[in-house]
């Protein structure tokens, strides 16, 4: 079944991660790390491998993982001190677990003698002893005929399962009769109720008063029993005891004998599951070897690949350009070849970028906890609704997102939501505050929204604070949206007293800076009384972008295609000058603010008037026309950081090398618009219309 294989592939991929983690934790333990979390993490890794193994019926793996887990549990709850000897054993056990996982995945054989020895050593520790000396083990192994649970199941045997329900066993939906009915498939031959039947008045419908002793005659493996009864373990003690095989073959000692755990071991309430010979149980799994594998690669190697592909893209562009210069007519075949090369280069680039893409889920999934903790700390009630977790973004971006997102949620919890549920109800809202975190693809960008349904930004207070701090000189001349944006100003914090949650000097300016560093933008929409919405837009990748090449004088610039709505040849009749001196362009009945790139970047003006208007759409300002001399064409360009190689320049997000070898600057549209003062206010526009 295909689905099954997919799941197995996933399981093995998980195993590789878990085992890598396990190794790391065990190494730390061996180095004397006494942090309980180290042991916990190691325990969890073993436990997860066991869980997966149980789901797929890898019996040898379950058995070994179980005894390993038992020992880890003892270490975890302090029943067993870790010394050098034990750490060494645990590391060996980690190796064996790895070998068994590989065996389950690829077929082949793990080193049976090693598996056997380590299993025996683990049992020894589980029973409370020290890891035995190697010589002792060998002796045991040779004398293993009387040990059970290791032979190929060739016949039936008796298995006794004692199930003692806890309080609430029936209340959560367990039904002993159903259990008995289902257990028949496993070879149930008898049921006995243990304990006293309670007096009628003591019967509580929620609780089951008895223990049940279930007798099986079964050819099923211990793992199957384990798997069958696992579901009851949350609300019952389950004890599985197996007799020796009724028809076990005596003449051939099996490779992985191990001592049977002492049934009187009080710490081990669940089944002393006998590890089953890896060889015997994996025979049938070799057919599963053909599964998709995943590979963990260092990010730096992929980065090198990305860079190289970037260079190839540039070279390809140069090549195409040169070719067109040499000979415009003829060489059709050469043209075709260059054409295919450009297509392949693009595919190559997309494939490489796809390697780096990851769902934002890894960051988003941490956020509900952040909100929960904050809600506790602040004494506010809030819930977080997360959507679009599967949206894929470049790995680097994802790693860098956690901090700004946490900060934004913190801001929404602390400043956004009303102080009490009563305040909310008074405002006609539901008592529990709602935060929303969502991600979606929009064109070549990713939109991440953090939204709350709180009281919105208190503009009066923000403005007052800004005036007090000397950020604003003339409070009359500032538009409401500009007030909102003051919170992004470095060092600005509206908290009247420094709160334990936000405040502390880290403001929204840090968020904005971080997002800009990632090539993104952060805008906010404030609806006083109804809430605040922050929108982060990020590029999908940090390495390439589709751009329009435009020229002003002798200079070439790149406008990111994602922000260009349309390109229009300027008709002088559509231009108008407003009373305050700024210019607008009429387009299908609307007036668009006009920005001259020449003026904005203070380029030397030859008097030639601009001929082209590039209409760009900005989230904050709506459509704006940027006027340039000429539109040259559309091209995919490789981003080179200007900051890393030169310094940050306002209005410019980076640079690239064009096909003819010239350097062109890439325009950062939103910062360009912010820089430009020519955007008139709404009122003036209406006056013109």
């Amino acid at each position: 079944m295909d689905d099954d294989e997919d799941y197995q592939a996933l399981f093995f991929a998980e195993c590789v991660e878990l085992l890598g983690d396990l190794q790391e934790q065990l190494d730390k333990l061996a180095a004397g790390d006494s942090d309980p979390e180290t042991v916990n993490a190691a325990f969890r890794a073993v436990h997860s491998v066991k869980g997966g193994a149980a789901a797929f019926g890898f019996e040898g793996l379950i058995g070994f993982a179980h005894i390993f887990e038992t020992v880890m549990d003892k270490v975890r709850n302090g029943a067993r001190e870790t010394d050098g000897e034990l750490s060494a054993l645990l590391i060996r056990a980690g190796d064996v677990l790895m070998a068994l996982v590989e065996q389950a995945r690829d077929g082949g054989e793990a080193d049976a003698a090693m598996v056997e020895r380590v299993t025996a050593e683990l049992h020894q520790v589980a029973e409370g002893g020290s890891p035995p000396e190697a010589a002792e083990i060998t002796a045991r192994a040779e004398n293993s005929d009387d040990l059970e649970g290791t032979n190929e199941p060739t016949g039936e045997r008796g298995v006794t399962v004692t199930l003692t329900p806890h309080l609430g066993f029936l209340r959560v939906g367990h039904e002993p009769l159903r259990l008995v009915r289902a257990a028949k498939a496993l070879g149930l031959v008898g049921v006995e109720a243990l304990g006293e039947v309670p007096l009628p008045q003591a019967i509580d419908l929620g609780n089951s008063p008895l223990s049940w002793k279930l007798q099986f005659e079964s050819a099923a493996s211990i793992a199957e029993f384990y798997s069958f009864f696992e579901i009851y373990e949350a609300f019952a003690d389950v004890k599985i005891e197996a007799e020796a095989m009724l028809e076990a073959e005596e003449d051939e000692p099996q490779p992985s004998a191990e001592p049977r755990p002492d049934p009187s071991d009080a710490n081990d309430q669940t089944a002393p599951v006998a590890p089953i010979s890896a060889q015997a149980s994996f025979g049938s799994d070799t057919a599963r070897a053909k599964i998709a594998k995943t590979l963990r690669v260092e990010l730096s190697r992929i980065d090198r690949l990305v860079n190289l592909v970037g260079e190839v893209v540039i070279t390809q562009a140069v090549l195409a350009q040169r070719l067109s210069e040499i000979d415009a007519n003829g060489h059709l075949e050469l043209d075709h070849a260059v054409e295919s090369m450009s297509r392949q280069t693009r595919e190559l680039q997309e494939s490489v970028m796809a390697i780096r893409a990851q769902p934002v889920k890894s960051v988003f999934s941490r956020m509900p906890r952040v909100v929960r903790d904050l809600a506790d700390k602040l004494g506010k009630e809030a819930r977080l609704i997360v959507s679009g977790e599967q949206t894929e973004v470049d790995t680097t971006v994802i790693e860098e997102l956690a901090e700004p997102l946490t900060h934004m949620l913190r801001n929404s919890m602390d400043h956004g939501l009303e102080e009490t549920s009563a305040d909310r109800e008074a405002a006609g809202k539901r008592p529990v505050g709602t935060l929303r975190l969502s991600a979606e693809h929009r064109g070549e960008r990713v939109l991440i929204t953090v939204e709350d349904d709180g009281r919105g930004i208190d503009r009066e207070r923000v403005l007052q604070k800004a005036v007090d701090n000397g950020l604003v000189e003339d409070p009359e001349a500032i538009a409401p949206e500009e007030i909102d944006n003051l919170i992004f100003h470095p060092g600005f914090s509206t908290a009247e007293s420094v709160s334990a949650v936000s405040g502390r000097g880290v403001g929204m300016d840090v968020v904005k800076k971080k997002i800009q560093m990632l090539g993104g933008r952060c805008t906010l929409r404030n609806t006083p009384g109804q809430g605040t919405r922050f929108v982060i837009t990020l590029p999908l990748t940090l390495a390439v972008l589709d751009g329009m090449i435009v020229s002003v004088g002798d200079e070439r610039f790149i406008l990111p295609l994602s922000s260009v709505v349309e390109a229009i040849r300027i008709d002088p009749e559509t231009l108008a000058i407003l009373p305050n001196g700024s210019r607008v362009m009429r387009l299908r009945g609307d007036y668009l603010p006009l920005i001259s790139l020449r003026e904005a970047l203070q380029l030397d003006g030859n008097a030639r008037p601009e001929e082209m208007a590039m209409v760009v759409d900005d989230e904050a300002q709506g459509p704006v026309a940027i006027i340039v001399d000429e539109l040259i064409g559309q091209r995919q360009v490789v981003l080179k950081s200007l900051e890393a190689n030169f310094r940050r320049v306002e209005g410019i997000s980076g640079a690239t090398i064009l096909g003819d070898g010239r350097v062109a600057l890439i325009l950062d549209v939103s910062s360009l618009l912010e820089m430009s003062t020519s955007a008139p206010s709404q009122g003036l526009l209406e006056a013109v219309g």
Binding site: D4, G51, G52, A55, G173, R178, I231, A234
Partner: protein, 119 residues
């Protein structure tokens, strides 16, 4: 044949689970989050619930918690299907009265067997 309420916000996971159950002749009622599941629970009175843990609006734990106080949810077997195996999660699941949990990726045979065992 049993009626099973399957809850998952991921359409593909939900399909997979439903196909598995329907394939064995069970009737499946689907819901994509806890809140919707609670409505379906009241309307359809299922024999068993299998729910994802992490979902928008109302997660699996909150759903089971709420369902336990519904008439239709009393003594109903309700399984959490989750990749989460942390002990505190299991502790919490136990406290609110989840019957048990299944680890993702699930094994169809195991799911069907659990339906036989519990429903």
């Amino acid at each position: 044949m049993k009626r099973i309420l399957a809850v998952d916000d991921s359409a593909s996971m939900l399909n997979m689970l439903s196909d598995c159950l329907r394939g064995a002749g069970h009737e499946v009622v689907e819901a994509s989050d806890g809140r919707e599941a609670l409505e379906r629970l009241r309307e359809t009175q299922p024999d068993m619930v299998i729910t994802d843990l992490t979902m928008p609006n109302m997660d699996g734990l909150d759903f089971i918690d709420a369902a336990r106080s519904e008439e239709a949810g009393r003594r109903l077997p309700m399984l959490l299907l989750t990749t989460e195996t942390a002990d505190h999660m299991k502790q919490r699941a136990r406290e609110i009265g989840a019957t048990g949990w299944l680890t993702k990726p699930f094994d169809p045979d195991q799911v069907l067997r659990l339906v036989d065992q519990l429903a």
